[in-house]
C-alpha cells in the first residue's frame, strides 16, 4: 500500500492507513483533541489525494483495528460477500465515489455493491466527497424497514416523537405526545428518554404509550430509550415494547464503556424476537454519534468518522428498524461549530445509508457549541434533500429533560412542506382520519393537542 505522495514539489509521508484516514478528514475538534488531525490544510489534501488512489483491497488488507483484537472488526469482516468484494477489490476509493455518483448507478446496483464493502471503505469514500456529493449519493438509496408499520419510502419523511419530561411524569409525557401527534409527528416511533433507569419506570412509560397507540389506533410503534438491560427486565416483567433501544460505539472497548457487548446484544435480540410486541421484521433502534469512542478513551487512535462508520457495520447485524446519529450532542470538543456539525450530519447519513441502514438524524447542538437553531434548520433541509428516513421532533426543539436543542414538530412539518415530502403512508391516512392533514398539508385542526384529550 502506498503511504507517500508528492504534490507538485512537496512530499508527504504517512505511517499507515490509520493516519491517512484521520488526516483526510475535514477539520473537526475531536480529531484535534485526539492529536491525529492534519497539521495544515495542504497536508489534509495530500492525505485525501493519497486516499483517493488506494484500492478497496488496500483498505481491507490493512485493518485499522485487527479482527483478532476487536469484535466489531470481526462482525464487519464476517459480513463481507467474497464474490462481490472480488468483483470490486481493485477499485480505488475515487472509483467508488464516481461509481456511486454515476447517473446509471441505481439503488439496485448500490444494494449489490454494499455487500462487498467494509465500514472503513465506506468511511474512506465519505472523506473524499463534498457535502453535495454526500447528499447526491445518499438520495439514491432507499432503505425501507418495518417494525409494526413500514417507514423509509422515497418521498416520505418520518418523525420520532420525543416527548421527554424532566421527572418522567406520565401526564407530562402524554401532553407532549399529543402536541407531537397534532403536528403529524410520531410515524417513526414514539420514543421516550427516561430520567429514571428502572424496569418499573420503563414499563409504566411503555404501557402509557401503548394505551395511547391502541386508543387512537395510531399506525406506529413505541420504545423507551433506557439501557438495554433495563428494557430487558421491563419486557420480562410484561412491559409492551415494540422494539429495543441501545447506543452503539464503533469499537469493542467503546461498547464496554456503554455496558454492552455483542453477546449481550445477541441475548437481547433473542428476547425481543420472542417477547417483544412489535410485528417486525425490524425490532431494533440504535443511536450513535461521532466522538463517543474518544470520550471513553476507546478509539485506538482511529478517527471519529471511521469509527462512526463502524457503528453502522455493527448495527447491520441486527437489522434495525431505525438508527440515528445524535450528531451534535456530545459537545464542542468533538464537533466545535455548525460547519463541523453539518458536515458530520451529512457524512453519518451517507455512511449509514450506503451500508443499508435506515438512517435518521438527531439534528442537534448543546449551548456551549458555536451553533444555533438556524444551523439546525439548515441541516434539516439538507438532510431532507438527501432522503433522511426520519428526524427527531421535540416541542419547540428544546428538550427540557436532556437539556439540548434538536428539531421541532414545526421544523419537521416545514421540511415536509418545503420539499414536498409526506409522512409514512399509513400514518398519513391516519392523520387524514383524525382531520389533522389533507392532501399532504396540515389542516386548521393541526397544532391542537386537545384533540386527543
Amino acid at each position: 500500500m502506498k503511504t507517500q505522495i508528492t504534490l507538485l514539489h512537496k512530499t508527504y509521508q504517512f505511517s499507515g492507513l490509520k493516519e491517512i484516514l484521520a488526516k483526510a478528514n475535514e477539520e473537526r475538534s475531536g480529531d484535534q483533541l485526539a492529536g491525529i488531525s492534519a497539521n495544515d490544510a495542504q497536508e489534509r489534501l495530500a492525505a485525501r489525494h493519497l486516499l483517493s488512489q488506494l484500492t478497496l483491497s488496500d483498505i481491507r488488507n490493512n485493518p485499522v483495528l485487527p479482527p483478532e483484537e476487536d469484535e466489531v472488526s470481526r462482525i464487519i469482516e464476517e459480513s463481507i460477500n467474497e464474490k462481490i468484494y472480488q468483483s470490486i477489490a481493485n477499485w480505488t476509493i475515487s472509483d467508488l465515489r464516481e461509481s456511486l455518483l454515476d447517473t446509471n448507478t441505481t439503488n439496485q446496483e448500490i444494494m449489490r455493491i454494499r455487500k462487498g464493502l467494509t465500514s472503513e471503505m465506506v468511511a474512506a469514500a465519505a472523506k473524499i466527497m463534498s457535502n453535495l456529493d454526500l447528499i447526491q449519493a445518499a438520495s439514491k438509496i432507499e432503505v425501507v424497514t418495518q417494525c409494526n408499520y413500514p417507514i423509509g419510502h422515497k418521498g416520505t419523511l418520518a418523525g420520532r416523537a420525543q416527548p421527554n419530561h424532566p421527572t418522567d411524569s406520565i401526564q407530562g409525557i402524554r401532553a407532549s405526545l399529543y402536541e407531537a401527534l397534532s403536528y403529524g409527528i410520531g410515524d417513526a416511533v414514539i420514543g421516550v428518554n427516561p430520567v429514571i433507569d428502572t424496569a418499573e419506570s420503563v414499563k409504566q412509560i411503555l404501557q402509557m404509550t401503548r394505551e395511547e397507540i391502541d386508543r387512537f389506533q395510531i399506525p406506529t410503534q413505541n420504545c423507551v430509550l433506557a439501557h438495554v438491560t433495563t428494557q430487558m427486565r421491563a419486557i420480562k416483567n410484561g412491559a409492551p415494547s415494540d422494539m429495543l433501544f441501545q447506543s452503539l460505539a464503533g469499537t469493542e472497548a467503546g461498547n464496554n464503556a456503554f455496558g454492552i457487548s455483542v453477546a449481550l446484544l445477541d441475548e437481547a435480540n433473542e428476547l425481543i424476537q420472542k417477547e417483544g410486541t412489535g410485528t417486525g421484521p425490524n425490532l431494533w433502534y440504535f443511536e450513535t454519534g461521532q466522538g463517543s469512542e474518544l470520550s471513553s478513551d476507546a478509539h485506538h487512535g482511529i478517527d471519529q468518522v471511521t469509527l462512526e462508520a463502524r457503528c453502522y457495520g455493527l448495527a447491520k447485524k441486527y437489522n434495525p428498524f431505525i438508527v440515528n446519529t445524535v450528531v451534535g450532542f456530545i459537545g464542542p470538543e468533538y464537533l466545535y461549530n455548525s460547519k463541523q456539525v453539518i458536515r458530520a450530519g451529512l457524512e453519518d447519513h451517507f455512511m449509514g445509508k450506503l451500508q443499508g441502514i435506515p438512517m435518521g438524524v438527531d439534528v442537534c447542538y448543546t449551548n456551549h457549541m458555536k451553533a444555533d437553531q438556524n444551523d439546525m434548520e439548515n441541516l434539516a433541509v439538507l438532510l431532507g434533500s438527501a432522503g433522511v428516513n426520519f428526524l427527531i421532533g421535540v416541542p419547540m426543539a428544546d428538550d427540557c429533560m436532556l437539556n439540548y436543542q434538536s428539531t421541532s414538530f414545526h421544523d419537521i412539518a416545514t421540511v415536509r412542506s418545503v420539499l414536498g415530502l409526506r409522512p409514512a403512508t399509513l400514518f398519513e391516512k391516519w392523520l387524514e382520519k383524525m382531520g389533522i392533514m389533507e392532501d399532504g398539508k396540515l389542516t386548521v385542526r393541526a397544532g391542537d393537542p386537545t384533540l386527543f384529550i
Binding site: P166, G172, S176, N367, S417
Partner: protein, 286 residues
C-alpha cells in the same frame, strides 16, 4: 424519584409565585410616559394560545403538566413570532453565560484571589477539556505561597461553563457553606478562584495542597431553563487518578432549582461524612 418530583414541584410553585408576584422592578409603575418610549415584556407576554381548541379547558391541563414548550400554536407550519423569539432569548442567555467572565468585584467580596488553568482562551477551553484540568506553573506557585497546606477543607470556586452561575449564586451559596462548615466543626483552608477550570482540576489542586476534602463550586453547562446553574463537586483526598465515581456532586444549584442557601448548608454535612467514612463517591453513605 421523590426528591426529583419534589424539586420539580417546588420549581413550578416558585415560577407560579414569580408570575403572581413579579420581581420588584416590574411592579414599580413607571412615570406616566408617552406611548412610544418603550415596551415591557414579562413572562406572560410570551404566552400564546391555541385560537379554537377542541377542548378549551384541556389546554391548561396539558401545558401545566410539563415545562416543555407545548400548546404554542403556529403560523402555517412555523411557530408564532413570540414563541420563536422566546426560544432565541433563552438561548442568548446561555450563549452569554458561556462567553462571560466573573467580575473581579464579585471575587473580592469573598476574598478570593484568582489563578488560571492552562486553558489559554475561551475557544481552546471549549475544544480542549484536558487543558482546563491542569493549573499553570504560575498558578501552582501562587497557591503554594498563599494557601494553607494540608487544610481540612479546601474551597475552590471556578467559572467552568457558566460565569453567570458564579455571579448569580455565589452570594448565597458561599456564606451558607462557611456557616455549615462551622456547624459541622470543620476548618477551611485558603479559598481561591480558578479561571478556566474543569471539574478534574480538583485532582491537580489536591496534589499540590493535599487537603482532607475539597469542594469545587463550578458553573454548569447552561441549559435553556437556567443559564446560571452551579454545581458543587466534592472529593475526599483528591489526587491524580481519581475517577468520576469517586466524587459527589450537588447539581442544579440556582434560584429555581436546588436553592443556593440550602445547597451551601448541605455541603458541610456531606464533607463531614466523607471525613468520618474516609471516602467519597458512590460508596459514601449519606
Amino acid at each position: 424519584m421523590q426528591d426529583k418530583q419534589i424539586e420539580f414541584i417546588v420549581q413550578k410553585v416558585m415560577e407560579q409565585l414569580q408570575k403572581q408576584f413579579p420581581a420588584a422592578p416590574e411592579t414599580v409603575t413607571p412615570e406616566p410616559v408617552t406611548e412610544t418610549t418603550g415596551l415591557f415584556f414579562t413572562e406572560e407576554d410570551w404566552q400564546t394560545s391555541i385560537p379554537k381548541p377542541v377542548y378549551q379547558e384541556g389546554t391548561s391541563e396539558l401545558t401545566s403538566s410539563t415545562p416543555a414548550r407545548i400548546g404554542v400554536w403556529r403560523a402555517g407550519t412555523r411557530p408564532l413570532t413570540k414563541t420563536m423569539l422566546k426560544l432565541q432569548f433563552d438561548h442568548a442567555a446561555a450563549i452569554d453565560a458561556v462567553g462571560g467572565e466573573v467580575l473581579e468585584k464579585t471575587l473580592q467580596e469573598f476574598d478570593l484571589f484568582t489563578v488560571e488553568t492552562c486553558y489559554e482562551n475561551k475557544e481552546v477551553y471549549l475544544k480542549r477539556p484536558d487543558k482546563g484540568r491542569v493549573l499553570t506553573d504560575a498558578a501552582v506557585q501562587t497557591i503554594k505561597e498563599k494557601c494553607m497546606h494540608r487544610p481540612q477543607v479546601q474551597i475552590v470556586v471556578s467559572d467552568g461553563l457558566s460565569a453567570s452561575a458564579v455571579e448569580t449564586n455565589l452570594k448565597d451559596v458561599y456564606p451558607a457553606l462557611l456557616d455549615s462548615l462551622k456547624i459541622n466543626n470543620l476548618t477551611p483552608g485558603t479559598p481561591f478562584f480558578v479561571k478556566g477550570g474543569r471539574v478534574a482540576c480538583m485532582d491537580h489542586i489536591g496534589e499540590i495542597l493535599e487537603p482532607e476534602v475539597l469542594v469545587l463550586l463550578i458553573g454548569e453547562r447552561p441549559g435553556l431553563v437556567s443559564a446560571s446553574s452551579l454545581s458543587a463537586y466534592m472529593c475526599y483526598r483528591p489526587r491524580k487518578g481519581i475517577v468520576e465515581s469517586d466524587r459527589n456532586v450537588i447539581s442544579n444549584i440556582h434560584p429555581l432549582g436546588t436553592p443556593p442557601i440550602e445547597a451551601g448548608a448541605h455541603i458541610g454535612t456531606v464533607l463531614r461524612k466523607m471525613l468520618e467514612q474516609k471516602l467519597s463517591g458512590v460508596k459514601l453513605e449519606l
